[in-house]
Amino acid sequence: MNAMSNVNDKIFTVCMLVLFLLIVWGMFLCVLYLASVFVIPLGAPSREPLLLSIYRIGATFLILTVWVIVWHRLATFWLYRVLRRDKGHGGSKGNDSSS
């Protein structure tokens, strides 16, 4: 019974991480689309006012900053609310770096 629940937990973890990956992928495509619409002029370069250039770069930085914050918040939510199930643990301290 315990082994069965362990297998279910592993399957659940992989499925939830794949779902997380799908959301991150979708977000990445959206950010790329928004950045390419706002910041990169289509076709040959044309002289544009300085203010417009500043606006383009500012808009991209804003998009990237929002994305970074949302991405991290989502990961934190996923770890503490979706994946984790409260359980006690002990054990010797190690690290996850093998080299």
Binding site: T13, L17, F28, D96
Partner: protein
């Protein structure tokens, strides 16, 4: 000999040659590690074995020598091949330096960015990336600035995945195979040939790095593999596909940096992301611990090292599928 036959021969020769060279180099790397005392403790085993930690040197020398020989034999020598050899070589040197002596966490990304400069100065890039939904965009000014940044991101992302036996090697094999497949389907012979050289070496190294590891890739291995991947993606104009194929690695790196509030040495961590007990990994429940992919994997149930690596490979394979979908369905 027609073009197709010549391409198949080139791919086969470079795969076999890099695999053989890496295999032959393994004992030499082991004796070098013994001479300079470069061993790492495998902290996830109860018996805590000492493992040579510059195994990646065989991948670096194997791929570089194979590319030098085959590019000369098959008349493939051009500025892109030379830029690939120099840029990836510089990244390997940075990695080797860190294996000997820990680098300042701010200096390391700067040096890795500099490693990308030969690609820029030798003109081994095409500044018209094909973006999803919108097609080709002209980035003649921005692209050369993005190359060093991309070098730092990708090399560190691959490096951040080197946490368990085989985790960096197997996930990199998945990403390299994806980039190889995309280049082959687009008939980009040069990037496909560079990919297959890397695959040959990685296939041999995977045998030595799989659980229980006889060699660690070290920083020299992981930074070299990361540099190879980003160089090939730039040369083959498949940058977006690569970024998606290594999304798990980038996610891992990004959340470590974000939760540590900047570039810091892993040795200065107050809390470790995972605990190890009797060979089983379980997530550290503390909110102060860095958010890593392995911590996410082990947050619900404890996993053996082998199981965690298998899960990472599954997630990398899904990411590879997303990269293929993006390249062939969303990029015009």
């Amino acid at each position: 000999m027609n073009d197709n036959m010549s391409t198949i021969l080139l791919l086969l020769t470079s795969f076999i040659l890099s695999a053989i060279l890496s295999y032959v180099l393994m004992p030499l790397v082991k004796s070098l590690a013994r001479k300079v005392n470069l061993f790492g403790i495998d902290v996830h085993k109860s018996w805590r074995p000492l493992v040579p930690k510059i195994g990646g040197l065989s991948v670096f020398i194997g791929v570089t020598t194979s590319v030098m020989i085959t590019s000369f034999l098959f008349n493939m020598v051009d500025n892109r091949v030379l830029a690939f050899i120099i840029s990836t070589g510089l990244a390997a040197i940075v990695g080797l330096w860190e294996d000997f002596r820990e680098l300042n966490p701010i200096l390391k990304p700067v040096l890795l960015a500099l490693a990308g400069l030969p690609i820029v100065f030798m003109g081994a890039y095409y500044p018209y990336p094909n973006l999803p939904f919108v097609g080709k965009r002209m980035l003649t000014i921005l692209y050369p600035i993005l190359v060093p940044i991309a070098f730092t991101i990708v090399t560190n992302a691959i490096n951040s995945m080197d946490v368990l036996n085989g985790s960096m090697t197997f996930t990199s094999i998945v990403a390299t195979s994806t980039i190889f497949l995309i280049n082959l389907m687009k008939y980009n012979v040069l990037p496909a040939y560079l990919c297959i050289s890397l695959l040959g070496s990685l296939a041999v190294f995977a045998y030595y790095n799989k659980y229980p590891a006889k060699f660690f890739p070290g920083n020299v291995g992981s930074l070299y593999v990361g540099a190879c991947l980003i160089s090939i993606a730039i040369i083959g104009s498949v940058e977006i596909a690569l970024l998606i194929a290594i999304l798990p690695q980038i996610t891992n790196e990004f959340h470590i940096i974000y939760s540590m509030r900047g570039f810091r040495s892993a040795k200065n961590l107050l809390e470790r992301p995972v605990f190890v007990e009797n060979g089983m990994l379980s997530a550290n429940p503390s909110k102060k611990a860095p958010l890593t992919l392995v911590r996410m994997l082990t947050s619900r149930c404890s996993l053996s090292e082998n199981e965690a690596v298998k899960m990472l490979v599954i997630i990398s394979t899904i990411s590879a599928a997303l990269a293929l979908i993006t390249e062939f369905f969303f990029i015009k």
